[in-house]
Every structure is written in structure tokens, then in C-alpha cells.
């Protein structure tokens, strides 16, 4: 699994598509890729990972368990997520929880990722 992070609108998806010569059809946008599809394909991209976490929490799910168990079965995934923790503590309890959980999930994914890149202005810095 590879992890690509960065602020909003930094060109993360375009960077990944061109680096790995992948088409838009390989992109799962804000949803977890399907098991059967992952078995058939070499590499899939999961974009807007942070939004998936947000929806998952809203629906009472546990994003930590879901993503880790998916990765236990399939490691051929490039996960793209916004960094959302670089701001003032939100007033709304849900927003605080969302922000903190995204941060901690990304720390865990970074630990198991074979590569972590941070994209700023379309330029990637390899940090792991």
C-alpha cells in the first residue's frame, strides 16, 4: 500500500495517475474499493479517503477496523487523503472527532505503507 497525502487541491490525484500511468477508471472516489475488483486488478486508487472516514463515522461505522481489514487482504492500493489537521480546534464535537480520527488513521497507515508521499503544489515529497 502506498499513501499520498497533502492539502486540499494540491494535485494529488493527477500526480498519482501520471506517476503510475493509471486511468480514472481505477479510481474509487470516497468509497472503499470492492474486494472482487481488487483481486482482479494490479493497482487501484482510493481517492478522498478522508471523506470516506467522515461518512463512515457519520453512519456509526468504525473506519479503523474497516480499512485495516481490507488492507490485510489487499495491499495493491494507493490511498489518497487530504491532510485536515492543520487548523484551529473546531467548535463542533463531531468535527473534532473527525479531524483527530483522520490524523490517527493516517499515522497508522503511514506505519504500514511501503511509501508515503506528500504533495504540495503538484510536487511530491517522498517522506517515507
Amino acid at each position: 500500500m502506498k499513501l499520498v497525502i497533502g492539502g486540499n487541491a494540491q494535485g494529488k490525484l493527477n500526480y498519482v495517475l501520471s506517476k503510475y500511468h493509471l486511468q480514472e477508471e481505477m479510481v474509487w472516489d470516497g468509497v472503499l474499493p470492492d474486494h472482487t475488483v481488487l483481486q482482479q486488478r494490479e493497482t487501484m486508487i482510493m481517492n478522498h479517503f478522508h471523506l470516506w472516514i467522515r461518512n463512515c463515522i457519520s453512519n456509526g461505522g468504525c473506519p479503523e477496523d474497516e480499512i485495516l481489514s481490507l488492507l490485510d487482504c489487499h495491499d495493491n492500493l494507493i490511498i489518497i487523503s487530504d491532510e485536515i489537521g492543520n487548523g484551529i480546534v473546531p467548535l463542533e464535537p463531531f468535527e473534532r472527532e473527525y479531524r483527530e480520527r483522520v490524523g490517527r488513521i493516517l499515522v497508522r497507515l503511514a506505519e504500514r505503507a511501503e511509501e508515503v508521499e506528500r504533495v504540495i503544489c503538484g510536487i511530491a515529497q517522498k517522506i517515507k
Binding site: 489537521g85 473534532r96 499515522v107 517522506i127
Partner: protein, 177 residues
């Protein structure tokens, strides 16, 4: 040596800073102090403190609660070599700025915090300061919050100038800047 550790919410900056303090204290019989700045006023705050205590437990830190006037923590330390971890600048700044029902001016807050940090830096062996990146959420806040963000920005710049090393923690990964 002074090291500034900066990161966003949930970035893993605390865990990294603790590891740093432990490794700096390893060479010799150096005492480790943790300066806690958070003023707990609700269940969520208590939970946060509890999480941090768990993270620190077994690492041999002596905790000093010092929500304001950070240099007074020196009076509570033993003499000799010591490694001090201060966490964190955003709480300290908020406590200095919004206490006793009034808002203190930005410049006064910046000077107070920096003076305290300078005297700690002079009197301890190794000093690790944890600060926050609160600058990139794109939200336009009210005047008071803007002043608070500005104060932290100025403090971070002064701390970076005082520090021997500045490390940004990104998804748990230290990036030296």
C-alpha cells in the same frame, strides 16, 4: 539543545516528541520533566489528558502542571541535568491570552511566552517544545481568534529561531525543516 516539534491534530507529534526526550535523556542519569499546559474543564479534556498520560506512562517523566507562566516550572525541578518537554504552545498561548475574563494583547502574550521559554532554555540540558500547525484550514475567523492564530504564528517563528532543530511531524513521520 533545543528542538521545536510542530504538527497538526492527530499528526503523532506528541509521541515523536516523547521518544525524542527519552533518547536525549538516555545518555547519563538525566531527569525527564513533562510540562503540561492544558486546563481541564470538561470530560473531553479529561479524556485527552488521560490519553496523553497513557502514552507517557512507563517512560519515566515527572509531570509538572504549568498552564501559565511557564518559567515557574523551574522552581519545581531538581537541580542537575534535565530534559524538559513542553506540550504545547497552543494551550499555553490560549491560557496566557484568555485568562481572568479578559483578552491580553497579542504582543504582550508573545513576549510573555518567549521570555518564559528563553529562561527555560538557559537552565535545562535539553528542551523540546511541541507546537501546533493551526494555520491551514482556510477558515476566516473572528478578530479574537485571528489574533490568537497570529500570536502562535509569531511564537513559532521565534521558537524556530531559538531552536537548534525544527521538526515537522507528518502522519507520524518526522520531517526536518
Amino acid at each position: 539543545m533545543m528542538i521545536l516539534v510542530i504538527g497538526g491534530s492527530g499528526s503523532g507529534k506528541s509521541s515523536y516528541a516523547e521518544g525524542l526526550a527519552v533518547s536525549l535523556a538516555e545518555s547519563g542519569n538525566i531527569k525527564k520533566y513533562y510540562l503540561a499546559t492544558m486546563q481541564v474543564c470538561d470530560a473531553e479534556g479529561r479524556q485527552k489528558v488521560e490519553r496523553h498520560r497513557k502514552l507517557r506512562s512507563g517512560k519515566g517523566f515527572f509531570t509538572i502542571e504549568q498552564p501559565t507562566e511557564i518559567h515557574h516550572s523551574l522552581e519545581k525541578m531538581e537541580q542537575g541535568e534535565r530534559v524538559v518537554l513542553l506540550e504545547c504552545i497552543s494551550n499555553l498561548t490560549a491560557n496566557e491570552m484568555f485568562s481572568e475574563g479578559e483578552t491580553k494583547p497579542e504582543m504582550q502574550v508573545v513576549e510573555n511566552v518567549i521570555r518564559g521559554i528563553e529562561s527555560l532554555k538557559r537552565q535545562v540540558t535539553h528542551f523540546i517544545v511541541v507546537s501546533n500547525n493551526v494555520f491551514e484550514d482556510g477558515v476566516i475567523y473572528d478578530a479574537t481568534t485571528r489574533e490568537y492564530i497570529h500570536a502562535i504564528g509569531k511564537i513559532n517563528q521565534r521558537l524556530a529561531a531559538l531552536a537548534d532543530q525544527v521538526v515537522e511531524v507528518v502522519v507520524g513521520i518526522p520531517v526536518v525543516i
